[in-house]
Point group: C2
Chain length 263, copies 2
């Protein structure tokens, strides 16, 4: 495990003086792989705790810009379609944030070589955090851990370790938000290959909803949206059993995202 260089430490300590106190940003980056919904996590050096990629807002920076900068600095991912979904404002955002994760993060910062009291005390403050989320194609994303992290990995959302602070709860809220979105926008364009079967699409919806759906019911509902174009059959076995392939009609897809399904 690499220790930090003196210049990394000084640069980080100087930077922290220009952040707004008491407010942070956390990013829930969701992907889809092996029929599973996955989330991008960072592992703290020394401390070892897993967390969502997060950070702080510069005094002269828009919060949306901060979210993009933080995600890029911490994971290398950029130009994602980040959407704010909720702001977490409980005074105690975890059981015992100061005694437990707050202290551990402080110890970890000390071990990494940070010395400025303002920096070491920073993590014991109360933070209101705003959650942003994005859906990405795991095959195309190349996340990298930043200098504070030992790892940056995709983990299935239904088999997660205990994350630091209230990060499990933040993730859960992002997924609930995504489920709500299924009621008024189509979904899948950035998560599935260009052509897919009805079953592929159903598996994606089931992974997000966290429960199985009835096949004909799903098919009826999704065809009603008129965003799918039926393509050739997927030829692998007998022609009469081969399922059709579909692709999204991108014009209809984007129009529905703008206008919404339903009322």
């Amino acid at each position: 495990m690499n220790l930090l260089s003196q210049s990394q430490i000084v640069a980080f300590e100087n930077k922290m003086e220009n952040f707004i106190p008491n407010h942070s940003v956390d990013c829930v980056i969701l992907g889809y792989e092996d029929q599973q919904l996955k989330v991008l996590l960072l592992k703290w050096k020394m401390h070892g705790g897993w967390c969502l990629p997060g950070g702080f807002i510069f005094k002269d920076e828009d919060m949306d810009d901060a979210a993009h900068r933080i995600l890029q600095e911490r994971t290398g991912l950029h130009q994602l379609f980040l959407n704010q979904f909720y702001t977490f404002g409980n005074q105690k955002r975890a059981e015992h944030p100061t005694d437990q994760d707050g202290r551990l993060i402080k110890e970890s910062m000390t071990q990494l070589g940070f010395t400025k009291p303002a920096v070491l005390k920073w993590f014991n403050k109360r933070f209101i955090t705003t959650g942003y989320f994005a859906l990405v194609d795991i095959a195309k994303a190349q996340p990298q851990p930043d200098f504070l992290s030992a790892a940056c990995e995709w983990r299935p959302v239904n088999a997660l370790p205990k994350l630091v602070l209230d990060h499990n709860e933040i993730l859960e809220k992002a997924i609930v938000h995504l489920r709500h979105q299924l009621n008024y926008v189509p979904l899948g364009l950035s998560l599935l290959p260009k052509k897919f079967t009805m079953q592929d699409l159903q598996k994606l919806y089931e992974a997000i909803l966290g429960k199985p759906m009835e096949r004909s019911n799903f098919q009826r509902k999704i065809l009603k949206l008129k965003v799918l174009v039926r393509r050739e059959k997927l030829m692998s076995g007998a022609a009469n059993k081969a399922p059709y392939l579909y692709s999204f009609d991108e014009n209809s897809y984007h129009r529905l995202i703008k206008e919404g399904i339903g009322f």
Copy 2:
């Protein structure tokens, strides 16, 4: 116009020392009256600008609790179902916040009798603000202006004055959020009388959507939700032309709010 008493000034100044800096809460309270969607506004004493009821979060207070406290302190309304909808984090939340509204509010605070530099400078800070909204029955609500305000009034959302800072934008975002909600939850229980005609309900949806809907289309969609119970006819003219009255089946209504419409 009443000036403030010395004790009001001292109490307020002392209170401000215990707020989190850089974060505020603004409440969008929407009601429905005369077939119009209305919003509850406060008018600053001296300054004269109209604004949403807003305020600050105590260091030891959950943000949700702060929203309820602020709304009660500023308008007298309490026990509402307040829902967070968005957090506004642009560095400049108005064209020239410091030169224009920031300065005006500071002047107004001076005229009201505030003297502490920390209090006068407070409003020139950058604030990230979290928006909360609630739907209320105007007939039952009795809003009252607080000691900082000259008036507290319901105003139709489609005929508003220029509000302070970015409050017009905050209101607009709340309405967009409400429109999205129509796609996955029923609406009207707290806004309509116990019994109403199909036309009453359609007018409410139209006021929120800001556009007319086709009658048979609306009726088909709303009946499909199975939240309405058909009652007797509204007897006022010829029986064959009298419309049916409806009421909400509250069990189905609350179940749909929990489970969502659609997928």
